[in-house]
């Protein structure tokens, strides 16, 4: 791994309200143009960043984790073939299809669509959206929160511990 790559991997992704607004705009425009059902932006580690389109009928956490997992696995396949990674993955179903597009170094765009549109449309507009998202990410990926900025309030982990005590009752 190169040093730059390493740094990218080790910097935590922080998305600010402003980033999410910008990303949502791109995703919404994409949904309108492509007529896909929904679009999810997922980081490569499987955490969802944001989504747009139809209210998800499925567990978005699980889809995010599995999408990131299958991307990681196919990346290994790509390497065997001498490719760096596959930038687009497509899974075809009887009703719904899902397409995953790599966005920059650290995110994936997952698009769920059905027969109201076509893979060609989705691919075309996803490519366009990818370019715009990449611009936004250039800023997000390089940004390191300043040392004195508190992203989470003091006592956050304590409060979380108490919350877990509540959640698990006597087991905790």
């Amino acid at each position: 791994m190169s040093n730059i790559e390493k740094e990218l991997v080790q910097n935590r992704l922080v998305f600010y309200e402003n980033d999410i607004e910008k990303i949502n705009k791109v995703l919404q425009a994409f949904i309108t143009l492509s007529e896909a059902k929904c679009a999810m932006l997922i980081d490569k580690e499987g955490h969802m960043v944001t989504n747009a389109g139809q209210e998800a009928q499925f567990d978005t956490d699980t889809i995010s984790a599995l999408a990131a997992g299958s991307f990681a696995a196919t990346k290994e396949m790509a390497k065997v073939l001498g490719e760096d990674e596959f930038s687009v993955l497509f899974h075809q179903g009887k009703v719904d299809n899902i397409q995953l597009t790599l966005i920059g170094d650290r995110c994936l765009l997952a698009v769920v669509f059905d027969e109201r549109t076509t893979i060609g449309m989705v691919r075309l507009y996803a490519k366009e959206a990818a370019t715009r998202l990449m611009e936004i990410f250039k800023v997000v990926e390089k940004r390191e929160p300043s040392a004195d900025e508190k992203l989470l309030k003091d006592g956050f982990s304590n409060d979380a511990g108490n919350k877990m005590d509540d959640l698990f009752g006597e087991d905790a």
Partner: protein
């Protein structure tokens, strides 16, 4: 790495259960799943072989609710323990915010545990990380079996860094939640530190993690704190004791902990048949020693991921 999403007011962390084959990683996750109230979990997904062995990973999202205005989630994963799947473990380990090492306490398992620990170090190194800088706890599992090693021996052989340890019998659920809680706390404590405040990296091999920040408990001190599963709160190391405990304890005494059969979350609509288990796929074949209550089982959706993902996982596993 965790994602902190101030736009959506969400924090999402990745926790990985690691350890040798059959040490009880999947069982840990199953018990966490069973013990989590309906509203706080999504589905549990297991990419496994017919014979119950994990092939790629098991996964469940755990939603612990809103803390200081931030919706906080843990993404829990297990790796496949069989030696053969090393490269798959590396994939699952990527981006982990914390690792729970599930060791098998069996007298004949010490070598396998040690090998798996070495494999963990290796895989972290390939991702440019060391175990010392990773939030990490050890669970000595299968304490219910007759032929188990003393904790003192296990500690001496496996716990070089003196990280917190827990005893468990995952199959009965004992010790499963304390282990998860123990790690979560360390993971969340680590979150508010920017990478410049976290231990400097890369570190020369063998060097002790040096805290760049005086305010943070020294890793060495943190790691000496050993917490047996059933230590009374008063004896717990300070960093593991929650100040607000008394209030909670009091609350708990008022009747049994409420765990209502809450209506499923909107997003958890029953999935279309197509997304369910394909015919022929079974819930993990019942293992004789596995008492699974029927209603709980209903909540678990074991996806035997067909064709695509499984094939991809296999290919990944076959590499190297």
């Amino acid at each position: 790495m965790a994602q902190i999403n101030l736009g959506r007011k969400e924090v999402s962390c990745k926790i990985v259960y690691y350890g040798p084959g059959l040490s009880g990683k999947t069982t840990n996750l199953e018990k966490v799943y069973e013990k989590t109230p309906e509203d706080n979990k999504g589905r549990m997904t297991s990419i496994a072989t017919e014979g119950d062995r994990t092939l790629f990973f098991d996964y469940m999202p755990l939603d612990i609710g809103t803390i200081s205005g931030m919706h906080t989630k843990f993404q829990l994963y297990t790796v496949p323990g069989q030696t053969y799947y090393k490269s798959t473990r590396k994939l699952v380990l990527q981006g982990a915010d914390g690792v729970i090492f599930v060791a098998d306490s069996g007298t004949d398992k010490i070598e396998e545990n040690a090998q798996s620990l070495a494999d963990l170090r290796d895989n972290l190194a390939e991702n440019g990380l060391t175990l010392e800088e990773m939030p990490f706890v050890i669970q000595y599992n299968k304490r219910d079996l007759p032929d188990v090693l003393d904790i003192a021996i296990l500690e001496e052989k496996l716990n070089e860094g003196k990280v917190p340890h827990f005893t468990a019998s995952a199959v009965t659920g004992e010790g499963v939640i304390p282990t998860l809680k123990g790690l979560s706390r360390i993971v969340l404590d680590n979150l508010n530190k920017t990478s410049s405040q976290r231990p400097a990296r890369p570190k020369p091999a063998g060097a002790q993690a040096a805290p760049a920040q005086p305010a943070k408990p020294a890793p060495a001190a943190q790691r000496q704190a050993v917490q047996p599963a059933k230590t009374p709160a008063s004896q717990r190391p300070a960093h593991l004791a929650a100040p607000a405990k008394p209030a909670l304890a009091a609350k708990r005494n008022v009747g049994t902990p409420a765990r209502p059969a809450a209506p499923p979350k909107g997003v958890k609509k029953p999935v279309r048949p197509a997304a369910g288990r394909p015919p022929g796929a079974t819930a993990r074949p019942a293992r004789s020693a596995r008492p699974v209550a029927v209603p709980e089982k209903k909540n678990m959706t074991w996806i035997y991921v067909s064709a695509g993902a499984a094939a991809a996982a296999l290919v990944a596993a076959l590499l190297l």
